[in-house]
């Protein structure tokens, strides 16, 4: 039997007194790929922010159990140390901080948490070379300021590069396909697939079936008004592509 990675139970959360998630349930086992789809404003990005620990959102009830631990009150950095990773829909630009310095700091902070020595410069650089190749990240971008002046596609590749460096247990890809042309999409998807193992899991948040041709999900969930209203296998995504979401809303009497 596969091992449980994360279990979200009756999760409710709000931002500025507006309820966004209204009792969301989701279980993910190691080795699985889940896709979350849904119309605009259904709460997809909120879910990813809440899982990563963005404190703009307040969890009002329910629980998030990650590797046997309740994490809904945990800081974003601690979640990261335990293996959570969010690939941002809009990666943030950090002027003056080089990509390399940023990643070295990230790895060293995690090592510090686990009481492990800092990674030697030589090993680190070797790792950077290896992992950046995975998504074909231009060498020059590694020394540039984090995401500053990167094209849309470069920013998304940089997210997957960071994911490869941090080797997370649970990766949430928040609309990683938006703003990517078809070639970049293939490269990014290929990178994600290579990072897949029986020890980790991936959540793909997307509007379009297209990405799921390249990152094939085991499960597809439809999020609507802060709840998962339907789950199925990858054929559900194809059906959604054809029919849109309206049929589901009537089906489920929402």
């Amino acid at each position: 039997m596969s091992e449980l990675l994360i279990e979200i139970k009756d999760l409710e959360c709000r931002i500025d007194n507006q309820k966004i998630l209204k009792g969301l349930n989701l279980k993910i086992n190691k080795g699985e790929v889940h896709a979350i789809m849904g119309p605009n404003g259904s709460g997809k990005s909120t879910l990813s922010s809440v899982l990563a620990g963005n404190d703009n959102y307040e969890v009002t009830s329910g629980s998030i159990n990650f590797l046997g631990e309740e994490i809904s009150e945990m800081s974003p950095e601690e979640r990261s140390w335990k293996g959570m990773f969010l690939a941002f829909q809009y990666p943030v630009e950090i002027p003056g901080v080089s990509n390399i310095n940023f990643l070295r700091t990230a790895l060293n902070e995690r090592n510090k948490y686990y009481g492990v020595d800092s990674i030697p410069a030589k090993d680190f650089l070797k790792m950077v070379a290896e992992k950046s190749e995975l998504v074909g990240l231009n060498n020059k971008l590694k020394n540039r300021s984090v995401n500053e002046g990167f094209s849309g596609g470069e920013k998304k590749r940089n997210e997957i590069f960071q994911m490869a460096m941090l080797d997370p247990k649970l990766s949430i890809l928040d609309e990683t396909d938006s703003g990517l042309d078809i070639d970049a999409l293939k490269i990014v998807a290929n990178g994600v697939n290579k990072l897949k193992s029986s020890e980790n899991a991936t959540v793909v948040i997307t509007h379009y079936q297209r990405l799921l041709d390249y990152i094939v999900p085991d499960f597809v969930h439809v999020l609507h008004e802060g709840k998962i209203i339907k789950s199925g296998d990858k054929s559900l995504a194809l059906e959604l592509e054809k029919k849109g979401y309206d049929w589901l809303k009537t089906d489920e009497n929402i």
């Binding site: 990563a52 404190d55 974003p76 943030v92 003056g96």
Partner: protein
């Protein structure tokens, strides 16, 4: 190199008590004056100063600065400390000191009759004069360390730097307060003369702890000379830098950069005046404030382009980050232009770090403290990068973030 007379036998004026307000030096600055509007001097005024000059420091390493190789001039509590100094022979340079009774021979006239200049001239105890002869390129930085290590000690010092035609020099100045001293005050004056086609870079670092430091800097530039001053202000009760940069010759380059990071009610004030008297020159100013925990920063930069100074390019900016609600910045970029064919700009921004960026860093496993450090580094990097020496850069970053 010639080292002139070193004489510490007697002091020009030795007072056991200084009441700054009672001295007959003109009116003590108050906040009604435009130049002192943002910098109250109450904390300075209430101190009973003395200028009995003692040495207390045995090793510079106790002051938290990296080991200094090469040429080194150390003043401590207003007096040349030869034991800590290393005035090795440098070809093409001339170093001299005025102190003790010789100080009366000081031929300089204060070109700016404000209170602290008057104080400096009236109670001057050590003056260092460094001359770089024509066509000399000094590769190694010359180090000047000015320490206050005695409680309530007032130190009035001067450093004259004359760089002659076609010569090049790099100076590192350290203004330091020992960590166990308090209420000391270094009132210093730098007077720089740059002859044609000469070049001078000054990196100035201020780490006064519980002490005060004011610097009046006068820079005169002749044609085709280049002047760069990078001021890094790390600690001190009140730090005040008054830079007066007079550009008297054509095709000059003048550059003033700074990073100031006051915390815990420290008050760091940068005043600059660049006078463009003639045409075809460029000036650049870039000051960055990082202010937290009730720290107060002041930037008042003034660029004056005089009537005949056509084709001037002058750019001035001041960007500030306030890390909390208690911190303050007073920023006043000023341009006065009397010529009609110039390219000038000035600007000031003040803000906080982006919450989104903070979350982004934290989501990658970087703690809040470290994230703020990284973002601070990113913010000041543009100025720190002006320094070419990676060891010095590292040192400044450690002290400032």
């Amino acid at each position: 190199m010639i080292i002139k007379d070193l004489n510490h036998n007697s002091l020009h004026k030795e007072n056991s008590k200084f009441d700054l307000e009672a001295l007959n030096l003109g009116s003590f600055p108050n906040r009604k004056e435009e130049r002192w509007k943002y910098t109250p001097l109450r904390a300075l005024k209430k101190i009973n100063f003395h200028n009995q000059l003692n040495f207390k420091i045995e090793h510079l390493s106790s002051l938290g600065i990296p080991k200094i190789e090469g040429f080194l001039i150390v003043l401590e509590n207003g007096k040349f400390n030869s034991l800590l100094s290393n005035t090795i022979d440098l070809k093409g340079t001339e170093l001299s000191f005025l102190n003790g009774t010789n100080i009366a021979n000081n031929s300089d006239e204060p070109n700016h009759k404000d209170y602290f200049t008057n104080l400096n001239f009236s109670f001057l105890t050590e003056k260092v004069v460094l001359k770089i002869k024509p066509d000399v390129n000094i590769n190694q930085p010359i180090n000047f360390v000015n320490i206050i290590s005695d409680d309530n000690c007032i130190s009035n010092t001067q450093f004259n730097i004359d760089v002659f035609e076609n010569s090049k020099l790099h100076i590192r100045q350290y203004f330091l307060g020992s960590s166990n001293s308090k209420n000391g005050f270094i009132n210093h004056r730098n007077a720089v003369s740059l002859k044609s086609q000469s070049s001078l870079t000054i990196d100035k670092f201020q780490d006064l702890n519980q002490n005060f430091n004011f610097c009046n800097e006068f820079i005169d530039q002749e044609q085709e000379s280049k002047f760069i001053m990078n001021t890094f202000s790390a600690s001190g009760v009140i730090l005040r830098n008054d830079v007066f940069n007079n550009v008297n010759g054509k095709n000059c380059h003048s550059e003033l950069n700074g990073v100031f990071a006051p915390i815990e009610k420290q008050h760091f004030d940068n005043h600059t005046t660049i006078n463009h008297f003639v045409a075809d020159c460029k000036s650049f100013e870039n000051y960055k404030g990082v202010i937290k925990e009730s720290g107060v920063g002041v930037f008042n930069g003034k660029v004056i382009v005089h009537q005949d100074a056509q084709k001037i390019e002058a750019f001035q900016k001041n960007n500030n980050i306030l890390l909390d609600d208690e911190s303050k910045i007073y920023s006043k970029p000023e341009l006065e232009i009397y010529a009609d064919d110039v390219r000038c700009s000035h600007g000031s921004t003040t803000g906080r770090f982006d919450e989104e960026a903070l979350f982004y860093l934290r989501s990658r496993g970087i703690s809040v403290k470290k994230s703020l450090e990284l973002m601070t580094l990113g913010f000041i990097n543009e100025v720190i990068e002006k320094s070419t020496d990676s060891e010095y850069k590292e040192f400044i970053l450690n002290k400032i973030t």
